[in-house]
């Protein structure tokens, strides 16, 4: 029973972390339909920036906020230079952002060297609480909390404002949105930098999760984030959340009960879900 609970809690929090990594991508890839491979670069930058800021200032919340802002600035630059010219063309997006990813990762090495770096935590988040054999790792509870907050914020943003509609309309027919007096380029930039900010946040939180950060972490988690967005159904933030939790829990339970499957579990999930539901869990069936 304790084991089951431990697995549940850890699986859930890992799921939440994955959701944080994927949430930015749901906006950028799911909603705006930009195949952004540099997303992994945003994670890694978020992680390094966060750890560096935390070491320098010693203030976790300040580093938290500054990292998100830093991620947004990065997103703004990337959008302006790389994405602007290639909206609507997936292959070129993929390759341009791949180039961007190379540059971002190498720049990390220029600034912080090529060694892994320890990601620390403030005292109040360190350690774990043992309640009758069930171990609650404080930081993981914190991650679950942040994940929930972000989830609600994105839902509000998409449902209570016109931004979501604008973007979907913009993907369908950019000219026409402009003809409605909407500066769609501005909206796209905004959402892109928001997504980048969220990616940076994900990276920031990922660092202390495992305790180490390294330049190559980006690519690895980028693929994971793409998987989650696809499994969830493009553009569906609820779908991404559900998929993240499934991936998190599946990871925990297979690692415990069927360890031989753990390497393959994400890919098997992806394959099975797509074969059963060709447009993802909460994606729309069939296109227009």
């Amino acid at each position: 029973m304790n084991t089951l609970l431990n697995l549940l809690i850890n699986g859930l929090s890992t799921g939440m972390l994955i959701f944080l990594l994927a949430s930015g991508l749901t906006l950028i890839f799911g909603l705006m339909s930009v195949l952004n491979f540099a997303h992994g670069g945003f994670f890694a930058w978020g992680a390094f920036l966060g750890v560096w800021l935390f070491t320098v200032t010693g203030n976790f919340l300040l580093s938290f906020i500054a990292t998100v802002i830093g991620g947004m600035v990065l997103g703004w630059i990337v959008e302006k230079i790389l994405i602007r010219p290639v909206y609507g063309n997936h292959i070129r997006q993929l390759l341009v952002t791949l180039g961007g990813m190379l540059v971002l990762i190498e720049l990390l090495r220029v600034f912080w060297g090529s060694n892994p770096i320890r990601a620390g935590l403030p005292k109040w988040l360190e350690g774990s609480i043992d309640v009758g054999g069930v171990i609650f790792i404080k930081y993981r509870l914190f991650v679950i909390l942040v994940g929930l907050v972000i989830y609600v914020m994105i839902l509000l943003l998409l449902n209570k404002t016109k931004i979501g509609i604008m973007i979907r309309a913009g993907v369908d027919n950019k000219e026409m949105v402009q003809a409605l007096g909407i500066n769609i380029k501005g909206v796209f930039s905004f959402v892109f930098l928001l997504g980048a900010g969220m990616a940076a946040l994900g990276g920031f939180l990922l660092g202390p999760y495992s305790g180490v950060i390294f330049a190559d972490m980006g690519m690895q988690y980028a693929v994971l984030a793409f998987i989650v967005v696809i499994i969830g159904g493009l553009g569906s933030i609820q779908g991404a959340a559900v998929a993240s939790i499934i991936v998190g829990l599946a990871g925990a339970y297979t690692a415990y009960y069927y360890p031989d499957l753990s390497l393959a579990v994400n890919m098997l999930l992806l394959i099975v879900i797509l074969l059963l539901r060709p447009s993802g869990l909460l994606g729309e069936k069939g296109g227009v």
């Binding site: 016109k162 509609i165 604008m166 979907r168 309309a169 993907v171 369908d172 027919n173 000219e175 026409m176 949105v177 402009q178 003809a179 409605l180 007096g181 909407i182 500066n183 769609i184 227009v288």
Partner: protein
């Protein structure tokens, strides 16, 4: 209200509009005629700022429009119904309305209501994705969207395309109604329809204005009609 002077537009290396000049008077319906490929749609698109103007100017309420980005032009109150309807396939009717409604426009709600009155079908499919609407329903949506979004001038590119006679009739009625509130520049091949509702017309051919006058006069001028529209 809208003045187009010596407009020259190139698309890539093709010289499409060649010194087009015309004017749309406030409170009227001005019709742009011409055969396929004459340059009617290009004219509208140029006004909306989709194409770069190489010479000449577009003036709206004496303000120069060319050179401004499309969304700025649109926010001056010009609504646009494109030739291919420009439907947002993945938005529901409701969402399309929400998108079209301007935050600051106090009449937005009333306009939307009125459009639903004129096109009850839209009300019926309020939660349906626009991509699934029938051809005619899409046309209605496009017009409603432009009207709600605009405040002064509507540019409409072939609205009667694909509408049933009953619908065309309704549309005519509604355009006449709309005319009381906005000025309209209409591109229309349906001579019958434009004949009924137009006040003033310009005839385009090969990227140039070749004829113009009052609609009333054109009705009598069988010669011109036959020459450019092939109708007797």
């Amino acid at each position: 209200m809208l003045r187009v002077e010596n407009l020259e537009t190139y698309i890539e290396q093709f010289h499409i509009l060649q010194s087009v000049t015309f004017e749309v008077i406030e409170g009227t319906i001005t019709v742009l005629f011409g055969r396929n490929g004459a340059g009617k749609s290009t004219t509208l698109r140029t006004i909306m700022g989709f194409y770069h103007v190489s010479r000449g100017g577009v003036y709206y309420k004496n303000e120069k429009l060319n050179g401004l980005p499309t969304h700025v032009i649109a926010s001056k109150g010009i609504g646009y119904v494109p030739e291919d309807q420009g439907i947002f396939q993945h938005l529901t009717v409701e969402e399309t309305f929400a998108l079209a409604k301007k935050e600051k426009d106090p009449e937005g709600e009333a306009k939307a209501e009125w459009m639903l009155e004129i096109f009850p079908d839209l009300k019926k499919y309020w939660h349906k994705k626009s991509g699934y609407l029938s051809g005619g329903q899409k046309q209605m949506l496009a017009i409603a969207r432009a009207y709600i979004n605009s405040s002064g001038l509507l540019l409409i590119d072939e609205p009667s395309k694909g509408l049933s006679p009953l619908m065309v009739e309704k549309l005519m009625e509604s355009i006449v109604k709309i005319k009381k509130k906005t000025t309209i520049l209409l591109v229309e091949q349906n001579f019958f329809m434009s004949n009924h509702i137009g006040d003033y017309y310009y005839m385009m051919d090969d990227g140039k204005i070749v004829h113009q006058g009052f609609m009333n006069d054109l009705r009598k001028d069988k010669e011109t009609v036959r020459k450019y529209l092939g109708i007797s």
